[in-house]
Structure formats: structure tokens, C-alpha cells
Symmetry: C2
Subunit: 221 residues, 2 copies
């Protein structure tokens, strides 16, 4: 995987697939998978091998059927493309169940993402500690963002507080927002906002269940 | 949107986009959006209008640039395609922070998905009630699945319990599994398993942030 083609903007759907590949590869037991073919990887994430080879080709990767990729090289290449080859600091706003679940999600650390702040409005939550991070009042967001060079803010507030929280993060200088509230939030064009809607996953499952019930199925691969 | 073409298996990525369209449309304030163009919808979810028109065309939708779709018809059509036009019952296994967050997620109900059971191993959680649903011992899963005709099981357990939980759900007769644990779970081919990896969203955000920092950007639309 070369760097030469990485300046091109890659379509969102390709990036999602690259992230899926990296996620899948990073979950493989290392002792069993030194190398992997596009066919083996395809079977694990229910995509076509041709799709995978085509995606790898975007980055100057090898595109031959039957080729066995070195897992270590694939992981390193994907991490570099996705900007995960450096540490990034993040904060979570809203320390309800979802916020606490996200704060406790160990896989983020493996991706070089360090939780440096937790924030809430609720005085009963302010002061408690989750994984060595103390919950602070949202008034302290600008100070922590500055001190800790925070690049990502995760919104786990109720719907009605989501946009206000996004505005606060943006004015504190945060460039990337991952919004888990069930409404969409917006911001200026130079701010990267990713609205994560859990419903989308449930809709996809619903579709697949509906298809599975049909008597005739045309297999995808 | 006609039913004629719905028997074809639609690629996974198209389904994800259809779910995103439906999610976006269902969040629009009804009084402002009686109709919507592919361009307006595209701006909201950062896709190309041509992509949207092409996806709608899959289902016999109108494909002309500038055409204004009736939001109500689009929603009804997408719901039918995704199998959301009927009630489905679901259960959540693992009532930690993530399980409680999912149990409290109101948007699922809007999609016709009714929470009919919560299960955990922890005796301290068994017996408590969340949104009128009592937390039960996992031993009671087969009985509830049968009584309530449960079609979906959501796994919100720690990693080490995930596969065991999937096996239990499958033996209880569940056909659709939505796995939120940070490992992949597997099952027989007739079981629909969707592994939901929160890391994938974070990787995508990381990529977009990295791209945004580059001096030269080629706009996608």
C-alpha cells in the first residue's frame, strides 16, 4: 500500500469498508492468521472478494485473486490510511448509560484514541471517576480541549441537548464530532460531523431477516 | 416504489444507504418537508444526488434530477423494503451500560421494534425493571422467545460471553442477532448475524479528520 494515491478523496462507502476490514483483521487471532486472502476476508464480513481487491487497489495494494496478503502489513496500511497511526485525544459529553458504555469501550484505545475527559450537566455525576477519568461540568470543556489537544468530541447526550453540545464543542475548537444522540447535529463546513444512528444497523438487520424468510434467494457470492 | 424488483438481493452497502435515507427522512420536521429532492437529501447525509437517485431506481423509484419525492411515500416505501412495516419483537441480553442504553433507545419503537425481554446473569440486575420490562435470568430466554415470538436478539454482553450468548439465542430459535460486543460472533448459515462494531464509526471519523487537515481537497460533490 503506497501513499501516492491517498490524496484523492475516497468515497464514504469505501472508507466504511476499509474500517470494516481493519476491524475484522484486528480481531483475528494472530497465531492463526499470518496471511489472508481476499476470499477468506470476504467470508468473514459478507462482501465479495472482488470488492475487497478493488478497495485495496485504491491504495496501490495487490489485486490478484488468490494472493495472500500479510495481515500485519494490511493492518499497518489501513491504520495509516485511516489516520490511526498516531494518538488522538477524545472527550465524551453525556455520562448516562450510553456515555458510560462508550467510556468503557476498550477497543478505542487499541486504535490510539485516548479518553481524556468526561462531561455532564448533572451534579450527581460530576466528580465520579470512570477509568481514571473524572466527570467534569460542561463549563470546563474549553479548558480541557485546549490543555489536552482534543481532536474528537463524542456526543452521548439526550436528543434535546445534542445541538447545543455540538455548538459548545465547535466553539471550544474541536474539529471532529461523533454524534450518538438520536437527532442529527450540524456545524460549519470545516467541522467533521459524523451522525451515528443505531437505528441504521437495526434497519439493516430487519431487511436481512425479511430476505431470509423468502423462499427463493439469489446468493451474492 | 414497486414491489417487482424487491426479490433481487440488494448489495449490503445499498441497504445501509437505504437505512440512512429512512433514518434521515424520519428525522425531518414534518411541517417543513412534504416533498424532498435527491439534492436536498444528499446534502443532509453527504452523498451524491446521483447515488441517491440510482438507489431509488433499484425499487422502481423516479430517477430524474430535480424531481421532488413525497416524503411520506418515500418513508412508506423504504419501510416496506426494509421489512419495518410490521411489528417485530426483540430482546436484549446483557444489561450493563450498553444494554440499558439500547433498552432506552426510543427510536427503535418508531421502527416497529418492541422490546419484550431483558436478560442478564448478574443476580443484582435480575428483577429490576427498565421501561416496564423486567430483567430476567438468561435461563428464561427460550421461554420468552417462544411466548413472545421474538425475531431479534441484541447481544450487549462482555466479549467473553458473546459467542455463548449467540449459541443460546440460536438454540432458542432466534433468527436475527445484532451483536454489540467487541468480538465477532458466528452461527449457522440460516441465522442472520450482524456484528455492530462501534470502532468502525470512529475509524471513519478519524479518516475524515485526517483528510480535512490536508491543504488540498478534491470535493466529492
Amino acid at each position: 500500500m503506497k501513499d501516492t494515491q491517498e490524496k484523492k478523496k475516497i468515497p464514504q462507502m469505501t472508507i466504511t469498508r476499509l474500517a470494516q476490514y481493519l476491524n475484522c483483521l484486528s480481531l483475528l487471532p494472530k497465531e492463526h492468521y499470518i496471511e489472508i486472502s481476499s476470499k477468506e476476508l470476504a467470508a468473514k464480513i459478507e462482501l465479495k472478494p472482488t470488492q475487497i481487491r478493488q478497495d485495496f487497489h485504491h491504495f496501490g495494494g495487490f489485486g490478484q485473486a488468490g494472493y495472500r496478503y500479510k495481515v500485519k502489513d494490511l493492518i499497518a496500511g489501513l491504520e495509516r490510511i485511516l489516520g490511526l497511526d498516531r494518538q488522538q485525544n477524545m472527550i465524551v459529553i453525556g455520562v448516562g448509560h450510553l456515555g458510560q458504555a462508550l467510556a468503557n469501550y476498550r477497543n478505542f484505545e487499541k486504535l490510539g484514541l485516548r479518553l481524556v475527559g468526561l462531561f455532564d450537566l448533572n451534579p450527581r455525576l460530576i466528580g465520579i471517576t470512570i477509568r481514571d477519568v473524572r466527570v467534569r461540568d460542561i463549563d470546563e470543556i474549553p479548558q480541557i480541549v485546549y490543555q489536552e489537544d482534543v481532536s474528537m468530541g463524542i456526543i452521548a447526550t439526550p436528543a434535546e441537548a445534542a445541538q447545543k453540545t455540538a455548538d459548545l464543542l465547535i466553539s471550544a475548537g474541536i474539529k471532529g464530532i461523533w454524534n450518538f444522540s438520536p437527532v442529527m447535529v450540524t456545524g460549519p463546513q470545516d467541522i467533521i460531523i459524523q451522525n451515528e444512528h443505531l437505528s441504521v444497523g437495526l434497519m439493516t438487520l430487519s431487511y436481512r431477516l425479511k430476505q431470509a424468510k423468502k423462499p427463493v434467494l439469489i446468493p451474492e457470492h
